[in-house]
Subunit: 354 residues, 2 copies
């Protein structure tokens, strides 16, 4: 049976199919660096925007209109599913997420509720349905969730962390509790991703943003099986899966083992070297340093060109940053990167890699 | 001409010579996790301890007495040389170093003073001379300095940083100013290292702790030549040089090019893989996750054994952490790691690798 080929550049690249131009989108492409977003944030908190489908959809569309990117990503936060799990979550200015009741014991893990995302996060699904009505077919909508390690580290630490003292202490000191927490998070995130696809998300990204804090040995023992559970379950949705992390130079092959059609690369890994390690079975997404967006034009163009040179027009490259756009980023620089990536026509003779 | 072989385990390993036991020391082995240190800090600030040779020497000796490590490292801070350069430096509780007058323009770089470390940091040299009288020959004294990138990033940011917004903006946006700053820092740090060796330091470590924030391309363009200048100059002291960074999985070969007899590995790089990439011309130092020191005995022993297994008794391994000891670390766990490393006798038939 031959599956119909997608037409949108972004979805074609996810599948390793030839494209006319390299598709480009940016992690955190909706956010504080845009005046339209800051204007809305004058009146609504982050969680209020996420809770109101019209607002979440509006914020999701802002960068699509302003930048001409090849994909939209639902405006949401990886910690949203913690609320129906019974976690007291807040976002504090200058500090990031703050969790009032961190999870550090078997009883804490036991107390975490599982839930029905279609019902308990129905506002997310409503935003997705709204967006699918608004977005053209050429701009697919990406849904996403946080991976068990990254979400778990927030849960255990009670917020952002530098050294993961509590998370790693639990991992090493109470491995059964650790695995019980990871299993619960894997079930919740898998159901959440499936519900997003059901509502209309056309690709799904798993954010394991902080997993680069681990050695490969620890990743394999404590994380890989749980990320694999999420990605295995999500694969039944039939949409492309993107598996992303930062600081993952020594984890790439293991993350590929865990799953995902597309592997995210950060700027520390030269794109050609990372892709060579992953081989032809994976597409890749990345990998401009978000700080390159602050550079004057010649330096910025040089860095973008270098990545496109490393990709060498090979089907299966999605241009992105190595991590999210920072709030101070000049919006006109972001737009210029989209134009630069789109200005470079790809050879018509590309063969599919997957 | 045959140079006399050093007898101390640590110095032998730096030179790739066979040893009876793997030498072990810890970055930040003097510090807040030790009751003796906390007691002194009740009465003196960090900068006061550094400024008084007797106190700096006493703090340096505390872990030598308590742990049985194979090397002492001078108690000091990589930012000390900024004070005679004209920088307003303070250490703020819970925040780390704070710089009152960050360096962000050509005039700021111009205004930085170079100085004579033997004179303007004479208290450091006095502490080294005191320590050489106190320490047995089996416990060599390590001196150290911060690498141009890592010290420069503090100078430009005005303190610790997560994204290096100001540092990378200067690097990309004002490359001439960037290189002028790096050159000045390289001159200062090289002179500082040479003065420490002159005063009696028996090995020198260059800390490029935060260089893992850079892509390999940026490292080669903006950092490598300056780190090489420091290490080239320091090599004339005739003592082993250790070149250390974290998050450097994609930078190891370039750091080796910049210099150092010993290359530091953090826990993200499996020791055997990192060493294989560096080849036989380098010794290696590392690479236990500092968080493994919080683990209960079986897990802790497993991780230590794994590193020793990966080193496979090959001459030229110095056991250490992948980064510094954290303040909450149980001191008895640190001592147990020293005992575990020392309990493992190495084969007598080792051949020198260098």
């Amino acid at each position: 049976m031959k599956i119909a080929e997608p037409q949108a550049r972004f979805l074609r690249a996810c599948r390793g199919l030839p494209v006319d131009r390299t598709p480009v989108w940016f992690m955190r492409q909706a956010g504080r660096y845009m005046a339209e977003y800051r204007a809305l944030r004058q009146r609504y908190s982050l969680l209020e925007i996420c809770a109101q489908p019209e607002l979440a959809a509006e914020v999701t569309l802002q960068p699509v209109r302003a930048l001409g990117v090849d994909a939209a990503i639902l405006f949401a936060d990886i910690l949203l599913p913690l609320v129906p799990m019974g976690i007291d979550l807040d976002f504090v200015k200058g500090q990031g997420p703050v969790i009032g009741n961190p999870v550090r014991s078997p009883a804490d893990v036991q107390a975490l509720r599982t839930f029905d995302p279609a019902e308990d996060l129905s506002h997310v699904m409503a935003a997705i349905r709204l967006l699918r009505q608004e977005l053209p077919e050429s701009v697919p909508l990406i849904g996403f969730a946080g991976a068990p390690f990254t979400v778990g580290s927030y849960l255990i630490e009670g917020g952002s962390s530098r050294h993961y003292l509590h998370a790693k202490s639990l991992m090493y000191g109470q491995p059964e509790t650790w695995h019980a927490l990871m299993e619960k998070l894997a079930r919740v995130q898998a159901a959440y991703l499936l519900a997003q696809a059901q509502a209309g998300a056309q690709a799904l990204q798993l954010f394991d943003s902080w997993v680069g804090a681990l050695s490969p040995d620890d990743y394999r023992r404590f994380v890989l099986p749980h990320s694999r559970d999420v990605l295995d379950a999500a694969s039944s949705a039939g949409v492309p899966l993107i598996h992303f992390g930062t600081g993952t130079a020594t984890l790439l092959e293991d993350m590929q083992q865990a799953g995902g059609d597309v592997i995210g690369l950060d700027w520390r890994v030269p794109l050609d070297q990372g892709w060579a390690r992953l081989g032809t079975e994976s597409a890749v997404q990345g990998n401009l340093d978000p700080l390159a967006l602050f550079a004057p034009e010649p330096e910025r163009r040089r860095q973008v060109d270098r990545i496109l040179d490393q990709a060498a027009g090979r089907p299966g490259h999605i241009f992105n940053l190595g991590h999210g756009i920072l709030p101070q980023t000049p919006v006109e620089h972001v737009r210029a990167v989209v134009e630069q990536v789109h200005a470079r026509a790809l050879e018509p003779a590309q063969e599919p890699i997957l």
